[in-house]
C-alpha cells in the first residue's frame, strides 16, 4: 500500500499548497475532465485525417496497407470462436443454478462501456475481468485465470454486446477515486524495465510508427477494443495479458494480473477515451 499512501500524502500536500498559493500550476491538482480533453485533442491534432471514432482500431487506423489486411480479416474474424464460447459460458448456469447474468446489471448485456468503475464500498477500481471472477467466487465457482481463454471469451462476448456504445467511465467525487485515477496516470507515464520505456513512450510519442514489423497503436481508444485476438499469440488476449506481456517485453517484471496498479491504469486509460465507441473484441497483428 506504500504507493497509495504516498499518493494520498502527495495529494493532501498539493491541496494544502493550492490553498496557500493559489497560483499552483493547474496540472498539479488532478482534473480528469481537462486531462481527457487534452488527451483527445493531442491525438486528433497529431492525426488530423483519422476520425475520432477510428482511433479505437489501433494500428489499423494508422496505416492504409494494414487497414486493408484488417478489413479482410474482419470478414471472418479469428475471434469468432471465442465469441461463441463466451456466449455459451454466459448462458451455462453455475452449479448453484445462477449464471453470470445474475451478477451484472442488465444481465451483463451491453454494459461493458461502464467498466472499469470505482467501487466506493470497497474503495477500489473494479474492472470487467475482476467483476467476472468475483461473480464466479460469489457463486461457489473457482475463479478463472486472467490471462487464459475462458476470461477472454467471457469479456469478448460482453464487449460484443456493447459494440458501438461510447465508452462511459465515471469518476465519483471521492478522493480515493481521484487517487486511483491519478495512480493509473502515473503508471502510464512512468518509465520502467531495462529498455526504460513507459506506455507513453510507444503509445503517445510514436503511434503510427513501426517497432519491427508492428505499427504502434495510439493510446486513445486502446482499451476500447479489448479483448483482442492477436495473430502474434494466435489466440485471445485479455487486458491483463496485454499489460503483463508489454511489461516483460520491455524487460520489466510484470505485476500480478489485476494488480491494483493495472486496474488503476485501465481506469485512467478508459476514462480519457470516454466517448469513443467500444469495438471489442478486436483482431490485432
Amino acid at each position: 500500500m506504500t504507493t497509495r499512501s504516498a499518493i494520498r500524502f502527495a495529494l493532501l500536500a498539493l491541496a494544502a499548497l493550492a490553498f496557500a498559493e493559489p497560483s499552483a500550476r493547474a496540472a498539479d491538482t488532478p482534473d480528469p475532465v481537462a486531462d481527457a480533453k487534452a488527451f483527445q485533442k493531442f491525438f486528433t491534432q497529431k492525426f488530423p485525417k483519422v476520425k475520432l471514432e477510428d482511433f479505437v482500431n489501433g494500428p489499423y487506423s494508422m496505416n492504409e496497407d494494414m487497414h486493408r489486411q484488417w478489413e479482410e480479416k474482419e470478414q471472418f474474424p479469428p475471434y469468432e470462436f471465442a465469441l461463441e464460447a463466451g456466449k455459451d459460458m454466459f448462458s451455462k448456469p453455475f452449479k448453484n443454478g445462477k449464471t453470470y447474468a445474475d451478477c451484472f446489471p442488465n444481465g451483463g448485456i451491453g454494459i461493458r462501456q461502464n467498466y472499469p468503475y470505482f467501487d466506493e464500498k470497497e474503495g477500489e477500481v473494479v474492472t470487467l475481468e475482476l467483476a467476472l471472477n468475483r461473480c464466479r467466487e460469489a457463486n461457489g465457482e473457482a475463479p478463472v485465470s486472467y490471462v487464459k481463454d475462458e476470461m477472454a471469451s467471457l469479456t469478448a462476448y460482453m464487449a460484443y454486446t456493447s459494440r458501438g456504445k461510447p465508452m462511459d467511465i465515471k469518476i465519483p467525487n471521492d478522493l480515493r477515486a481521484l487517487e486511483a485515477y491519478e495512480n493509473g496516470k502515473r503508471y502510464f507515464y512512468t518509465r520502467r524495465g531495462q529498455l526504460n520505456f513507459s506506455c507513453a513512450t510507444c503509445h503517445v510519442q510514436s503511434p503510427g510508427e513501426r517497432i519491427r514489423a508492428e505499427i504502434l497503436a495510439p493510446a486513445l481508444g486502446i482499451m476500447n477494443a479489448m479483448p483482442i485476438y492477436r495473430s502474434e499469440w494466435s489466440g485471445m488476449g485479455t487486458t491483463s495479458r496485454r499489460f503483463t506481456t508489454c511489461n516483460s517485453q520491455i524487460r520489466g517484471v510484470p505485476l500480478n494480473p489485476q494488480d491494483e496498479e493495472y486496474r488503476d491504469l485501465e481506469y485512467y486509460l478508459s476514462y480519457v477515451s470516454n466517448g469513443l465507441p467500444i469495438s471489442g473484441p478486436g483482431a490485432r497483428p
Binding site: 502515473r186 507515464y189 524495465g193 531495462q194 513507459s198 520489466g252 517484471v253 505485476l255
Partner: protein, 100 residues
C-alpha cells in the same frame, strides 16, 4: 615438480594475480544482489534481466564455477540498483511526458 604444476595451473587459468573466487565470495555477492532486488521489489520496479542474472549466478555456483557466479551476482546487483534509480528518478519526472 608440484611447484611447476601450480605455476602452470595459474598460467593456464590466466588468473595468476587474483585467487579464484570462493563459495564465500559468491554468497556475499549474491546476498548483496538479493537485497538490492528486494528493494526494487518494494518500489514494484524489478527488471527481468536482474532475475536472469541472479538465476545465472545460482546456476554457476551450483556447477562450482564461483568466478562466473560472483560476476553474475555483481551484474545482478548493478541491474537491481539501476532499477531502483529508475523508480526513484521517475517519481516526479513522469509529469514531463504528461499530455496537458
Amino acid at each position: 615438480m608440484r611447484a611447476l604444476l601450480l605455476i602452470s595451473v595459474f598460467l593456464i587459468t590466466g588468473s595468476a594475480p587474483t585467487l579464484a573466487a570462493s563459495e564465500g565470495d559468491f554468497k556475499a555477492a549474491y546476498a548483496a544482489a538479493e537485497i538490492a532486488e528486494k528493494d526494487a521489489g518494494q518500489l514494484r520496479n524489478q527488471w527481468t534481466t536482474t532475475e536472469a542474472a541472479l538465476a545465472a549466478a545460482k546456476k554457476a555456483a551450483a556447477s562450482g564455477d564461483f568466478d562466473q557466479a560472483v560476476a553474475s551476482s555483481k551484474e545482478a546487483e548493478a541491474l537491481a540498483k539501476a532499477s531502483i534509480f529508475q523508480a526513484t528518478s521517475e517519481k516526479e519526472r513522469w509529469k514531463d511526458m504528461e499530455i496537458r
